[in-house]
């Protein structure tokens, strides 16, 4: 197999490539934050009676809350802020498809590149 000689990349091309990667990183990490997509479904199940007992706290728990500087009123929003786990099947299926598709592409494309590497490396000897 003939040895592959890569083209020389210009300085401007290198700078452009770096810019592409940086922009992609920021878009991937920052966009979900900006669009408010990050974070789990949590909401406060409000109670009318704000007592330690109503909040499901026994005397030991109540004494620790008080040691930490909380009253039943100030602890209410922490204790009653609960997750509501709902399996959104369409989103789950999309996520699974995206993940599987990604890994399949990775392994198949990598395998093609890898065979070139091995052929060049070991055919030289």
């Amino acid at each position: 197999m003939s040895r592959y000689t890569p083209p020389e990349q210009s300085k401007a091309g290198q700078v452009f490539d770096i810019a592409v990667v940086v922009v992609a990183i920021f878009v991937a990490l920052w966009l979900p934050l900006k669009l408010g997509l990050a974070g789990a479904a949590k909401s406060i199940d409000a109670l009318d009676a704000k007592t330690w007992e109503a909040l499901g706290q026994n005397p030991t728990m109540a004494s620790i809350w008080e040691k930490l500087g909380y009253t039943p009123e100030t602890a209410h929003d922490i204790i009653q802020n609960r997750f509501h786990y709902v399996i959104d099947w369409p989103t789950l299926i999309i996520m699974a498809a995206v993940l599987i598709g990604y890994f399949v592409f990775l392994f198949r494309a990598s395998d093609r590149e890898y065979r070139d590497v091995i052929n060049e490396k070991f055919d030289d000897k």
Binding site: R3, I18, A28, A41, W65, F83, M95, Y102, I118
Partner: protein, 464 residues
């Protein structure tokens, strides 16, 4: 400590120095991870209750034991900077290697961001001064640690060894100070974790807790990034990594026991400082201040190790021309990948100011789990392409393929856990990796020399 200042040879260029021993490998791995005991793991209690946090502590411990076993075998054989990146390059192929390096850079940079936010918030909370914000502390942490990394790996990891040891000892001191052998005096586990509140969301909460259970140990695989700078990779890497994992399992168990026995799960699940709070609740100013200092030191050690690891992964991409070769420069005096260190600095700073702790942790976990999924498949391919006996291995992990299968299954469960809270982010990140992979495969790879990527003195892989 006596060191031999001989250069690690990589081609004809100035290369990284082989100056590290097993203690540095331990310090790198445990240093990155130990902050997870000081914050982060407790969000698992928020997701599923105190008992769920304990269940995932052990089950995720199994995941990481598999990671450490697999990693020790492959890395003791593929000893090159970039760790899992170098493994992927030699075993799976260039595109996978490119992705794995990005997983590493994202996981460590976002972990560094989380550490800096934690450090800033802890100081602000301690100061109790109205109007004081964490921004200046975050910036100072990231810049000073980047400078330390710029100046040399030996000094960086010596510092990490000392501050990690102090932080670890503080957990042991706290554990024995609260009389762990008796209940009722300080610890009140039976009254705080009751049959009624142990699993407030049932088993779906246990699965959801996997997301932050990862935080107990995330980063232990970072030991492999030092592969090109340890004096004896075949001995130091498995020894340092496995010792680190044992250390962390003990610390995680002690941390859960003390914290779950001192705080209601609803508070434990939202506090940024579970161990510092535990110190406060003992009523001892000495323990309170010790745990405050230890929280800061753990955050510093972790951020320090993360800068070290992310820079080496980025450096490796430049060295193989996967990214512009400008990044592959080694400092002529300090022998560090200084351009990579400096390049990643503003990215870390930017995210430290726009993300909160919870989100930064999730970004890091997402990249970590993608990487562990790769590792479970990678070890299968490694054993198939180079069966036992075909090449010299520094360490051979037992029970193959059970650890790989366990790791893969636990990764699937963790993806589901992430879906329960951060599914949109997961899809966005995978979309990013997919698009950047297309860019690499169809455009960037043309600048890469083919045969030169394979640098190990191994025979041709079987089946290729």
């Amino acid at each position: 400590m006596t060191v031999t200042l001989e250069p690690a040879v990589h081609g004809d260029r100035v290369s990284l120095l082989r100056v590290l021993g097993p203690a540095h490998v331990w310090a790198l791995g445990v240093g990155i991870v130990l902050v997870g005991e000081f914050t982060g793991w407790n969000f698992a209690a928020d997701k599923g209750g105190a008992l769920a946090a304990l269940i995932v502590c052990w089950v995720v411990g199994l995941l990481y034991t598999s990671v450490a076993m697999i990693d020790s075998e492959v890395t003791s054989t593929v000893a090159a900077a970039g760790g899992q990146y170098a493994q992927a390059k030699h075993i799976v192929g260039p595109l996978m290697a490119f992705n794995v390096a990005l997983f590493l850079v994202f996981a460590y940079t976002m972990l560094e961001v989380s550490d800096a936010i934690l450090l800033g918030d802890t100081i602000v909370a301690k100061a109790g001064v109205e109007g004081l914000t964490h921004n200046s502390f975050i910036a100072a942490t990231i810049v000073v640690l980047a400078w330390l990394n710029y100046r040399g790996v030996l000094m960086t990891l010596n510092v990490n060894f000392v501050i990690t040891a102090i932080a670890y000892i503080s957990i042991v001191i706290l554990f024995f100070s609260v009389s762990p052998w008796t209940q009722g005096a300080v610890l009140k586990l039976n009254e705080l974790v009751t049959p009624g509140n142990a699993l407030p969301y049932g088993w779906i909460g246990v699965i959801a807790a996997f997301q932050f259970g990862i935080w107990y140990y995330l980063g232990i695989e970072g030991t492999t990034q030092a592969a090109e700078e340890v004096r004896s990779p075949a001995r130091s890497l498995p020894y340092g990594t496995m010792a680190g994992m044992i250390t962390l399992l003990i610390a995680a168990a002690m941390t859960w026991y003390v914290c779950a026995s001192m705080m209601p799960w609803e508070y434990l699940g939202i506090t940024y400082y579970p161990l510092w709070d535990a110190g406060k609740l003992t009523g001892s100013p000495l323990l309170e201040n010790l745990l405050f200092v230890a929280t800061l030191l753990a955050a510093l050690a972790s951020a320090n190790g993360c800068i070290n690891d992310a820079a080496r992964a980025w450096f490796s991409l430049g060295r193989d021309r996967y990214l512009p070769t400008w990044f592959s420069a080694v400092h002529p005096r300090y022998r560090t990948p200084y351009r990579s260190i400096l390049f990643l600095l503003p990215i870390a700073l930017a995210f430290a100011f726009i993300a909160d702790l919870n989100q930064a942790i999730t970004f890091s976990i997402l990249s970590g789990v993608l990487q562990y999924t790769f590792m479970s498949i990678n070890i299968m391919m490694f054993r198939k392409k180079w069966p036992l006996g075909s090449i010299r291995r520094g360490y051979t992990h037992p029970f193959h393929p059970i650890p790989a299968i366990v790791l893969f299954c636990l990764c699937v469960v963790t993806f589901f856990a992430i879906f329960l809270g951060f599914g949109s982010q997961l899809i966005a990140m995978v979309a990013f990796y997919f698009l950047i992979s297309l860019w690499f495969h169809f455009y960037r790879y043309r600048f890469v020399r083919r045969g030169d990527q394979f640098t190990m003195p191994w025979p041709k892989p079987q089946g290729i």
